[in-house]
Subunit: 289 residues, 4 copies
Amino acid sequence: MESENKHTWRTRLHEIIYEADTPAGKLFDVVLLIAILASIILVMLESVSSFDDKYHNLLNIGEWIITVLFTIEYILRIVTVNKPIKYITSFYGIIDLLSTIPKYLSLIFVGTHALVALRALRLIRIFRILKLARYLGASNQLANAIKASRAKISVFLFAVLIASVIFGTIMYMVEGADSGFTNIPKSVYWCIVTMTTVGFGDIAPVTPLGQFIAAVIMIMGYGIIAVPTGIVSAEYTKASGSDKKVSDEEHKHLQTVVLNSQCCINCLAEKHQDDAIYCHKCGCKLHHD
Amino acid sequence: MESENKHTWRTRLHEIIYEADTPAGKLFDVVLLIAILASIILVMLESVSSFDDKYHNLLNIGEWIITVLFTIEYILRIVTVNKPIKYITSFYGIIDLLSTIPKYLSLIFVGTHALVALRALRLIRIFRILKLARYLGASNQLANAIKASRAKISVFLFAVLIASVIFGTIMYMVEGADSGFTNIPKSVYWCIVTMTTVGFGDIAPVTPLGQFIAAVIMIMGYGIIAVPTGIVSAEYTKASGSDKKVSDEEHKHLQTVVLNSQCCINCLAEKHQDDAIYCHKCGCKLHHD
Amino acid sequence: MESENKHTWRTRLHEIIYEADTPAGKLFDVVLLIAILASIILVMLESVSSFDDKYHNLLNIGEWIITVLFTIEYILRIVTVNKPIKYITSFYGIIDLLSTIPKYLSLIFVGTHALVALRALRLIRIFRILKLARYLGASNQLANAIKASRAKISVFLFAVLIASVIFGTIMYMVEGADSGFTNIPKSVYWCIVTMTTVGFGDIAPVTPLGQFIAAVIMIMGYGIIAVPTGIVSAEYTKASGSDKKVSDEEHKHLQTVVLNSQCCINCLAEKHQDDAIYCHKCGCKLHHD
Amino acid sequence: MESENKHTWRTRLHEIIYEADTPAGKLFDVVLLIAILASIILVMLESVSSFDDKYHNLLNIGEWIITVLFTIEYILRIVTVNKPIKYITSFYGIIDLLSTIPKYLSLIFVGTHALVALRALRLIRIFRILKLARYLGASNQLANAIKASRAKISVFLFAVLIASVIFGTIMYMVEGADSGFTNIPKSVYWCIVTMTTVGFGDIAPVTPLGQFIAAVIMIMGYGIIAVPTGIVSAEYTKASGSDKKVSDEEHKHLQTVVLNSQCCINCLAEKHQDDAIYCHKCGCKLHHD
């Protein structure tokens, strides 16, 4: 009887934390989203020394509140899942842990010499932002287009790298250390800056020959930017043009995933069909309201 | 009889101000267009101190002329419409008011301390330029393509933001305050500057590791610019490729809207069909020449 | 008899100068091309003061040689055409004249005070480069795609301008003269520099709010660059996809135009069919070898 | 008997060096790849003076090891081919030689005055990176799209150059030497920097008129970047859209080329069919395992 009661309690919590189709589940997600954004803003504000000097205590309190919140969330996520090891070793499990521990570690390493390492640890919390990616939702056309053109873009980027190494070396020979091209790695860096049309201007050619070669590099970079664009464009046209109906269905599917996302309490499998009764991975019964 | 005469007078004015299918209506539009452009140029010239010192009185007179013109236009627009509240609370009604009042407010706030606020008020007139958007005309393929790809581009821009926050934090840790990366918000700003291939160069990495990460960011930015381009390109191809005939009809429709734009005197509804006799929104009779 | 002989002489010269399907005509074109490129290089070298100081006389002689060559060409072009007024008032006729006279005018204005004006006159010769456009040849897919998307790109560029004026004014209010945003026109200039992702860095925001707005402008600029690209891409796909066969024929036609370009001696009409005997514009007989 | 034995030995070596379908052949390729990358990194590190000062001897030893390795490879490639002259005069043959000799030449030119020339010679080894291109593999869609649009992109780049020369000259006249536009070649260089949206900022217009023209150039550059992108995009869509099945076959073919790449021992011809017994170029028998 007790066990049954506990099971119900676990099941309800699982629904709230892992799913989003109950009012409580939606509320949980919104609170989590706000907490994530607040923690990112806190990490950012803390790095602004003029702000940190004034409101150090306030920031510290805010961080502790969020750390406690994330700790509770982390523990609940472990407790309400049948296979906790699977969650802990999953991508989001590691992100959840990494974004929670730094504040606790700051209690241990309070020595003067550990301050620099401590600072780096605090910044790990910035990775909490990756949790937001969870809300970007399911697989879509965009991801498919990028996936389909990934191999081709890699070849292209590799070609850009080879060109950068060769032109970087030529610029190093032509311009030399006086113009800021002090060594080949720096020249290659400059070449990438130029070819991608970023153009910081911290290093710039001064000799006529160097400026001529720079002009060639720029026009090349201007011309080859067309290549990855053309690839993604074509892949995306293929992906989206194939079937308009599919796109609509996918959209509907997306809504289903976001609003009625069932997550198996046993194996964490997602993307169950709307009318599914059993998990399609482990056969465990799914819990509806 | 008087009322009938007044009605005719109002109807004729309505035609001139809100429509463009009579010679007087066209003239009104051209005069308004010139007045808008003149007011923008006046605001700009006034901000150039060397110009303002010389021709302050001339600029002041010019501004008063345009302010009076816009005031008359604003009053006439209210008078000739049956439901003035609807116009006043509409987007263009607010723009019309906001671009007229600053000069009058400058008469009230003449104290020495109010000068800064006054300056800001004057600049509000720059929003008059949005009235020009009215002449950009009706909905077209372009707007549809942007509308169709808006959701996907938002997801994409959100991904760019997440990447900027993470890479900005890494650069802050690697480069530190000595290279200009004084805090995380500034580092994130630098990361956006770099990823969008703008590259001001006011902040630039100086350490080899920082330059290596910067190169990775640049090549990433260079690669992902292909994504929104591909999306718009594909959406636009779909939108324009679907039917050439539609495009021609739309073009004809555009001309109709611009040249014979009927605007209901009662409810301000636009885009009536060319041969419409009654307003399709309120049933009020439309006035043709 | 004399007149007949003269006619033959004129006809032969017309063939050499205006057409390219005889060995002499081809040679004339190649010589002209080299002369144009040489004149451009001379104008450029003359502006490099360190080079001009050393080789002033050499440059002067070179310029006179080219000026005489262009003068002869200009006179021959007038003489060998039946309607010289039509040639003189045509686009290339004006370019030919403008690129020839500056050197003669430099003989007239030798006074000390006229030196600055003289310098500007010399530079007019740079427009000779536009003659090269003549060799870019006939209308092609590319030009058609640009032509078809011209109207849409104009609307787009106009929207960019409106956004630049509004954001430029906001940046002027936020940053002020201390950061280099001394007046609105300069701020609008900065905004265009940023939105087009050029990013010189001569002016850059320094306040946190200014940098935040700049980030918004950059991401906007980065997003909207997709729009013209998408338009040209779609129009080009439509233009080139419609018929592959047409493209091949066009290519053949291009060759015909370049190699066998018949140009009517009477009315300067071009693009006659390969087997044409009479001009399709004025009915005048065409001269073949 | 001896000759037969030697033939077998040569044939086996040929398989290892020129092909990649035996375990030994694969190992050879991987070792070569690592050696190439190591040599590039060595050249780069050597140029960093702070690194070279510390580890000069270590770098020197590393270079000698790689030089000896490449020498052995070069000799074996000559020995195992029936027509060595063909290999030596081929593109990769020249690259192989050029990337091997600099270290030997450094033994000859050890005089103090030859140091600068020596440095340049050392850097030639950077071209070894081009050997990596060999592993980028066979012809693919990407290359075909670039090939198909090469002519059109050339016309486009030529148009950009003409525009740069004209606008560069105008900027030289407007801004003059005080703003850094000291001569026309430099102005043209600045114009290319601006038009390609690189924007170093080492030279930037300061006069209002100059900034206005710069804004026009930037918007032009921003608009015309769409042209090459559109071309490649359309060509690529055509190339990849024509047949999905072909793409799959091509992929399979690619694998075949990479994994079972047969290279004729007699004439170096590649791309034999998988089941080919005789070379399709010289009729010489191919050697399978």
